[in-house]
Every structure is written in structure tokens, then in C-alpha cells.
């Protein structure tokens, strides 16, 4: 029988140790894992992007349930260990069950430190430690406006940034005079504070919190100096303390943490400990890199490599706030024999400081340009004598390494032992070997095999360069995020996020704040920005008509000869004698050369001169016909079959449903055109399964299908779900429209969007999360209030943009 290994703690440190063990000695133990949280093992350092909405929970899962099953690990989720019986070599669960072990690994992590002040226990006071905390914060951000974050360290600022991204007003209270004082010096702290304040964060330093006030929930924080800061949510992010209760009660030697020797063994030789709960050579760690160093030693020890030893870690830090580049490593406090090399470029917002002692780097703080952080860190760890390159050291590797090379050759020049991924402690040699040995061709594969860039992701660029160097032309490039156009380096997603976070509400504001490289953009970025602003700030943003493609400016489709085509709306593809008569009259009156029935069940009047458009529309309006938006990145048509009203096979009233959907969605602007259809039975005569949103009636209700396309690349829809009532069809439809509007890139149809984000993501947001669905739907209806106005009538009768349809005259 295999010896039994019990692991207390299902977090990053414990599971990394298990992963390392499985790699070294796959069948050595019978492994049982206890986790107090109800979740599978996820990447705790990615809680910040989760809060900021940049990642979903699925994105940050490290090992899903199948991993445990595949490796024959018995997992007890949400089950606490109450006691360790060292003498009897057993653990006791909260339920009273006793489980024997041969080796025990304590990986209980740490608990957030709660300030012992009055009111700390009130509802509305949360910490920032696990998924549950993030969910509480997100929930609060939906219902409330004001948040206070106590603590201006790494964790506090990431929490504050995330809350800001969720639309809250955020005040950060920090006890010390400058932010992140453990990682930053005064100058970098100042630059960081200024940048965060520009983004709308209020920061109070030297703020000593005395009390959290509020009757039955937190209503604000009272400072020592008498100031009161009102808040609906108070986040305590003042630090962590190792969770040693269990170890202590079992009689293991504990000080600040569970004391371990260099072999990661506690005072009981059968029991090891790893992670934030550990105290090693007097130090406790709260960053991820040391945990992984420890995990390697733990695994080696468990695999009977008695010589393996942990010798402590030198750590470095990056702030995970999009748009702020900040790196810190080592010690930069002033001491005897320390020398500073400083570079300041105020207008570029760059600050670099290296602290040297005996010609070796002792500490580094980089702000604004952190590209050389890894290089400095490597020299710091290796204790490299830098006297030969002192004069150019601060300018970075490109200069000090001789010759200003491209970044690729800088990476090529790195030693095999150079650390690429700081989070997971993966060096260059290991990545290159993995690429060649396993034939890896993408960043994702490198991640899966080596863990490099699998945590915070800031080394993704370096990993890509290693792929390029190793594979040469064989590297086809990964899904590197593409910039929108030549006017900016930012991607669609980054721009959308920054528009929201920085509350940018005009195109000039976006271009100014996000440092556009051209004066007023180009025909690619301007329409995209106009759409993103319109989508983000309904009713508030003033549409920039000159940033629209001519069809949306003229509200008609330009043809190859410069004439236009006119498509009146026919709700659900239905029409009547009055409308048809008006169309016939217009065709004759204006001598319109071609009338064509479209694929979306409308009539297209082709060859109209531009200056005639307002008069054509006026006559159509008189018969009740309005714009069909056939010219827009907008809801185009809802196609229907006759359904149960006439058809002997019809199961539901598809025409009526089509009209209702079209009445709800018409006029909305979308990333690209949107076509819908409703079929009255599974024979699907309306071809709903190649539409962006297709509804197919069945006897018991309605099937909802999404992401279809009948264009260049035919794609059949995916089934989103089945619903029973007409109200549900409308709600799901509105929610889907809004999700697409919020998430797709400009000019991305639903089909490629769906393939990019995955059907599961859409199901999660719309089907599984009832509240989110209701919110999306409400947001869609809110946006619709501002756009459901016939643009033809505005131009035919109200003189909007009259100059568009009139030539100038020669005097």
C-alpha cells in the first residue's frame, strides 16, 4: 500500500507542491486534499483582474475537478480540518471524521489582517482575500456608490482600482506618507499617487483609521483627526497574517508562522509546511514566487530527496493595474555604503532608481518603463558585479549590453538561468528546452507545460520572443493582441476598458488621454471609438456624426455609382396594401430604377440620388414606413415564417414574436450588423440557425440560437438555451444584444465574437446568471430609450443635417 499524504489547504502553495510531487514521483503517495473554500484551486493573484472585470473566474482556475480525478487525488472541498493528532498521525475533520496520514503537508496560507477598531465586524466591511470577497465587492458595486479601501499597499490599490473600474467612487486611506512604502520609494510613490488620482481615485495618506461607523452596517470611516469619510463598502487591505491556529494547537513550533527548517519540515518530522503560513529563517512571505520555490523543495523532500533545501527568496513586485507600469525588487532603503543611480524623465512619466552596494545591485524601483525589471532582478539575485557597465546601467540592457539591439536579441542574449516568469520561477533554459522537447508552438502550450506566464501574465512578451528565437520561422505568432489601427498601440478591449475606467466621454478625450499618434484618428479608429462611447454612455455621449461611415451618416446605402438605396422597415417581414402603394408611388414619382426583394424580407429601392433622399423618406413616412437601418452596424431585420397563425405545421406565432423582437431592438447600434429570425416550428423556414440571434418555436416553448452567419463563412448557430414564455424570449434577446454590444470588437459579428469568447462564457453571463441577465436586459432597454427615433423623419421633416443632402452653389 502506498503511504498516505494529506494536504491541508487547496491554495496555490499546497497544490503547487502536489503538482511538483506528481511530476517527480507520480505514484509515490495516496493523496488527500482538504480545502476550506468551496472552490477548486484558483490563482489568487488574479483576483485583481477578476475584480476589475478583465478576467472571469474560469480564466483563473488552475486545476479543475478533472485534474484531481485524473491524478487520483481525493478532494474535500469546503471541509475544514479541526485538529491534528500528531502522536496518532491523524487529522480530524469538522465532521469528526479521522483520517490517518504518513506525511502531512500544512498549507493553510494566511488570513487577512483585520484592524482591531470599533465597527470592524459590521456588515459592509470586507477583506480582499478570496473569491467570496471579490463577489461581495462586485455585489456592493452594483448597488452602492461609495467605497473606502483601508490600506494603500499592493493589495489595497489593486482592490481600489477594481472598484473604480466597477464604477464606484473610491477613497484609499493609507497610514504611511507614501503609497506602497514597502516596495516603492518616495518619488515612485508620488508618481503612482498622481496617476491614480488622475484616474479618479481619492487618496489620503497619513490616515489613521479610528473607527468604522454605522448603525447596523458600515456607513463610513472616522479618522484620528476627526475626518469622516462616508462609504457603503469598506475594504480592509492592511496586510495578512500566517494562519497558524491549527499547527499551534497541535503543538508544532510556531512564531509568526509555522517554523520550518531548510527542508520545509516542521518541529514534527512527519509534518511539512509550505506557503504563506510558513516562517523560514525568520521570514514570512506574502508573494507568490517564494511559495513556488518552497513547493519545489517540499516535493523533493516528499520524493525522498533529502538534500533538497530552501534558502529563502529575494522577491520582486509588479502592480497589476492596467496602464501603470511599476516594478520593485530588493532593498532600497538608504544604508551605509549604498549608492543611488537615478533617471527621471518627468514628461514621459519615467522614474528609475537603482541602489548599489559594493558595485552590486541591491534594490531597483522602476516606474513608467519596467522593461528592464527582469534584467536588473536577475543581476540582483546573482550578485553580478556591475562596475564595468555602471555608466550605462540605468539606461537598461539595450545600452549596457552593448549596442542598441532589438528586444529579441536582448532576450537571446540572456543566460539560460535568467528568470523569465517571476511568479512561477521559470527560467529561460527550462522554457527553451520545453519548446524543443515537446514541440510547443504557442504561448498557451508553453503555459500549460512550464507555467511560465500562467500567473500574472506580464512576461507573455518574453515568452513569445523565446518562441520566436527557438522556432525561427516556424513560429506563426500567437494571438498577440492587435492594436486597433496605426493611430494607437492599444487593443479594442484595452480601449473599451479605459473609456470606462477613466470616464472618457468624447473622441478627443480618448485620443488625448490614450495618447493617439495621429491628430484626429483615421477611418478605422474613429467609427470604432464613436461606437464604444455610444455604447458605454447611452444618453450622455453626443454622437460624432463625422466619425461615421457615409451610410450611417446619410441613413442610406451608398452604391457603386454614388447613388443610394432605401430600405423601409417592414416589421417581422410583414407589410400591407397601404405601405406597398406608398412604395409603388415613390418608385414612380422619383423614377427609382430598381426594386429588389432582400434576403431579410424587405424591399430595397436602388438608385436614388442623394439629394432626393429626404423627399423619398417624407413620402414613405406619410404611409407609416420608417428607416429599416439596412445601412447600419445596427439591428437589421427580424425575418419570420408565417407560423401558427397560418401554417398547418406551426407550433407558435412566429410572426407576432418577430414583430415584438423587432419593436424592442430596432434602432440599436451594435459592433456590426445584427440579423435575427423567428421560425414557427423546427422546419425552420425563416433560416433562424444562420442568424446572429435565431428563435425556433417548439411545442413547449422557444429554442434560442446564437452566433450564426450566412455570409462569407457560413456558421450555424449554437443553441443557447430553451425558454418557455414570450417574455423570456425578449429578455434573453435583449441581454444577448447588450452582451454583444459590450464585449465584441467594433466590426466583429456575433459569430467570430462567440468563437473568441466561447459559448460557455455567453451561457454563464446570460443563462446561468439570472441577475446578470436582468441587468443586461435593463441596460439594453435603457440605451434604446435614446435611439428609437426614426432618423428618416428627423431628416425629412425636422431639417437634421440638411447640408448633407444639398450641394453648394457657385456664385
Amino acid at each position: 500500500m502506498k503511504p498516505k499524504l494529506v494536504v491541508i489547504g487547496n491554495g496555490m502553495a499546497g497544490m503547487r507542491a502536489v503538482e511538483e510531487l506528481l511530476e517527480r514521483a507520480p505514484d509515490a503517495y495516496d493523496i488527500t486534499v482538504f480545502g476550506a473554500e468551496p472552490n477548486v484551486n484558483y490563482n489568487r493573484i488574479m483576483l485583481s483582474p477578476l475584480l476589475a472585470g478583465e478576467k472571469s473566474f474560469a480564466d483563473i482556475i488552475i486545476n479543475d475537478l478533472s485534474w484531481y480525478a485524473d491524478n487520483h487525488i481525493t478532494l474535500h472541498l469546503g471541509e475544514k480540518i479541526e485538529a491534528i493528532d500528531c502522536a496518532g498521525k491523524k487529522v480530524v475533520t469538522a465532521g469528526g471524521a479521522k483520517l490517518p496520514y504518513d506525511r502531512l503537508l500544512i498549507a493553510t496560507g494566511s488570513d487577512p489582517f483585520i484592524l482591531p477598531i470599533p465597527g470592524a465586524g459590521l456588515p459592509g466591511v470586507v477583506t480582499f482575500r478570496d473569491r467570496g470577497d471579490v463577489e461581495q465587492m462586485l455585489e456592493a458595486s452594483r448597488r452602492h456608490k461609495r467605497a473606502v479601501v483601508i490600506g494603500g499597499g499592493l493589495l489595497g490599490l489593486e482592490a481600489a482600482n477594481g472598484l473604480l473600474a466597477n464604477g464606484m467612487q473610491v477613497t484609499v486611506l493609507h497610514l504611511m506618507p507614501n503609497l506602497m512604502e514597502r516596495q516603492l520609494d518616495e518619488a515612485a510613490g508620488y508618481l503612482l499617487q498622481r496617476e491614480l488620482e488622475v484616474r479618479g481615485m481619492e487618496i489620503i495618506t497619513r490616515a489613521n483609521s479610528r473607527e468604522i461607523y454605522g448603525a447596523d452596517k458600515a456607513e463610513g470611516v472616522l479618522l484620528d483627526d476627526g475626518r469622516r469619510i462616508d462609504a457603503d463598502l469598506v475594504v480592509m487591505a492592511v496586510g495578512i497574517k500566517p494562519n497558524i491556529a491549527l499547527a499551534k494547537a497541535a503543538g508544532l513550533t510556531c512564531e509568526r508562522g509555522v517554523v520550518v527548517d531548510d527542508h520545509m519540515v516542521t518541529s514534527d518530522p512527519s509534518i511539512l509546511a509550505v506557503g504563506e503560513c510558513v516562517q523560514h529563517r525568520g521570514a514570512v512571505y506574502g508573494l507568490v514566487a517564494p511559495l513556488f520555490d518552497m513547493a519545489k523543495v517540499v516535493a523533493a523532500q516528499l520524493a525522498d530527496d533529502a538534500a533538497a533545501a530552501y534558502e529563502g527568496s529575494v522577491t520582486n513586485t509588479r502592480l497589476k493595474v492596467t496602464g501603470i507600469d511599476l516594478f520593485s525588487a530588493g532593498d532600497f532603503s538608504e544604508g551605509e555604503g549604498c549608492e543611488d543611480i537615478i533617471l527621471r524623465d518627468a514628461s514621459r512619466g519615467v522614474y528609475k532608481r537603482l541602489v548599489l552596494k559594493d558595485n552590486r545591485i541591491r534594490g531597483a524601483v522602476l516606474y513608467g518603463d519596467t522593461g528592464d525589471g527582469g534584467w536588473y532582478f536577475q543581476m540582483l539575485r546573482d550578485g553580478v558585479d556591475v562596475s564595468g557597465m555602471r555608466d550605462s546601467l540605468i539606461f537598461g540592457q539595450a545600452f549596457a549590453g552593448g549596442g542598441r539591439e532589438n528586444p529579441k536579441s536582448a532576450v537571446a542574449a540572456l543566460a539560460d538561468s535568467a528568470e523569465i516568469c517571476g511568479c512561477n520561477g521559470v527560467c529561460k533554459g527550462r522554457i527553451v528546452t520545453a519548446i524543443s522537447e515537446h514541440g510547443l508552438t504557442s504561448v498557451d502550450e508553453v503555459r500549460a507545460k512550464t507555467k511560465a506566464s500562467a500567473s500574472c501574465g506580464s512576461c507573455t512578451g518574453l515568452v513569445e520572443q523565446l518562441l520566436q528565437i527557438t522556432l525561427g520561422d516556424g513560429y506563426l505568432g500567437g494571438p498577440a493582441v492587435k492594436s486597433v489601427c496605426k493611430c494607437t498601440d492599444l487593443s479594442h478591449d484595452e480601449i473599451r476598458r479605459l473609456i470606462l475606467v477613466r470616464e472618457l466621454k468624447t473622441i478627443p478625450a480618448v485620443m488625448q488621454e490614450l495618447q493617439w499618434k495621429s491628430a484626429d484618428g483615421c477611418a478605422t479608429c474613429r467609427p470604432a471609438l464613436n461606437y464604444y462611447l455610444l455604447c458605454e454612455w447611452p444618453g450622455e455621449y453626443c454622437d460624432d456624426y463625422q466619425s461615421r461611415f457615409i451610410n450611417e451618416r446619410a441613413h442610406a446605402n451608398i452604391q457603386k455609382d454614388g447613388t443610394y438605396s432605401v430600405v423601409p422597415r417592414m416589421w417581422g417581414g410583414l407589410t400591407n396594401a397601404r405601405e406597398l402603394r406608398a412604395i409603388a408611388d415613390v418608385v414612380e414619382k422619383f423614377a427609382i430604377p430598381t426594386v429588389k426583394v432582400t434576403g431579410g424580407q424587405r424591399l430595397d429601392l436602388l438608385g436614388v440620388q442623394k439629394d432626393q433622399l429626404p423627399e423619398v423618406w417624407k413620402d414613405l413616412n406619410a404611409a407609416g414606413l420608417v428607416s429599416g437601418h439596412a445601412y447600419g452596424k445596427a439591428l437589421r431585420t427580424v425575418k419570420t415564417c408565417v407560423g401558427s397563425e397560418w401554417c398547418r405545421f406551426g407550433t407558435q406565432a412566429s410572426m407576432g414574436m418577430g414583430v415584438e423582437i423587432e419593436k424592442m431592438t430596432w434602432g440599436s447600434w451594435t459592433p456590426h450588423k445584427v440579423k435575427m429570425a423567428v421560425s414557427g416550428c423546427p422546419r425552420n423556414c425563416a433560416e433562424a440557425t444562420i442568424k446572429d440571434f435565431g428563435v425556433v418555436a417548439v411545442d413547449s416553448g422557444w429554442e434560442l440560437h446564437v452566433g450564426g452567419n450566412g455570409g462569407i463563412k457560413v456558421r450555424a448557430t449554437d443553441l443557447l438555451c430553451k425558454v418557455e414564455t414570450a417574455e423570456e424570449v425578449l429578455e434573453y434577446c435583449g441581454a444577448f444584444m447588450q452582451l454583444y454590444r459590450q464585449e465584441a470588437h467594433y466590426l466583429e459579428r456575433t459569430a467570430p465574437w462567440l468563437e473568441r469568447v466561447g459559448l460557455d462564457h455567453i451561457r454563464e453571463k446570460i443563462v446561468e446568471d439570472k441577475e446578470n441577465r436582468a441587468r443586461l436586459h435593463a441596460r439594453f432597454l435603457h440605451s434604446q430609450k435614446f435611439v428609437q427615433k426614426d432618423p428618416w423623419a428627423e431628416r425629412a421633416s425636422e431639417g437634421v443635417h440638411a447640408h448633407e443632402y444639398r450641394q453648394l452653389e457657385m456664385a
Partner: protein
């Protein structure tokens, strides 16, 4: 010598937009940039005759609405990699009024 003919005010043309004017058989597009500079080109893309006046104006360039070719407003020259050249029309602004001087042979073509 072509004669200068008044065709309206600068403010008749939307910023980052264009208006057209008919000069005999020639349709001219008059563009206004973000900085209120005025340029005039024949309203015909050298690629497939698209009406340049209907394009999106950015910097001192316009993107043709039919196939997205980009042209410099001052010269009519296609911006790299688009070749071809739209005909440039002399234009001047006095006291906020726009004057054009279409070449005489084009007027004679009518």
C-alpha cells in the same frame, strides 16, 4: 487663367466633413479639416470613381467610401500603398468665404 468663383462660407462645410459643388460637368468636393483648412478635389476617386466627398476626413486625408483608399487632400495623391491621384482644384479662403478656380478646360467639357 481660371477665375476665382465664390462657393459659400467655410462654416457651410462641416468640420472633418465635405460638401460638393457642381462646376459645369465637374463635381468638386470641398473638404474642411479639424483645423479649418479647406481643400478641394474632383469628387471622383481615381480607383473606381467613388465620391470622395462622402468619405471620412482625418488629418489632411480622406478615405474613399467605396473601397477605403486614402488620398492626401492637398495634392490628391494616394497615400501609400494606394496609388492614383485625384484631381486637385485650386481653392482659397478670404474672410471666411471659399473661392474655387476650376481649370478652364474642364468647364469647356460641359
Amino acid at each position: 487663367m481660371a477665375e476665382w468663383i465664390e462657393t459659400g462660407k467655410v462654416t457651410d462645410i462641416p468640420r472633418l466633413g465635405a460638401r460638393t459643388v457642381q462646376a459645369g460637368g465637374l463635381r468638386i468636393a470641398i473638404f474642411r479639416t479639424a483645423n479649418d483648412e479647406i481643400f478641394a478635389l474632383e469628387d471622383r476617386c481615381p480607383h473606381k470613381d467613388g465620391p470622395l466627398s462622402q468619405g471620412i476626413v482625418h488629418g489632411r486625408s480622406v478615405t474613399c467610401p467605396l473601397h477605403n483608399q486614402v488620398f492626401h487632400l492637398d495634392s490628391g495623391q494616394g497615400a501609400d500603398p494606394d496609388d492614383g491621384c485625384a484631381r486637385s482644384i485650386a481653392v482659397r479662403v478670404t474672410d471666411g468665404r471659399v473661392f474655387l478656380a476650376p481649370a478652364p478646360q474642364q468647364q469647356a467639357a460641359e
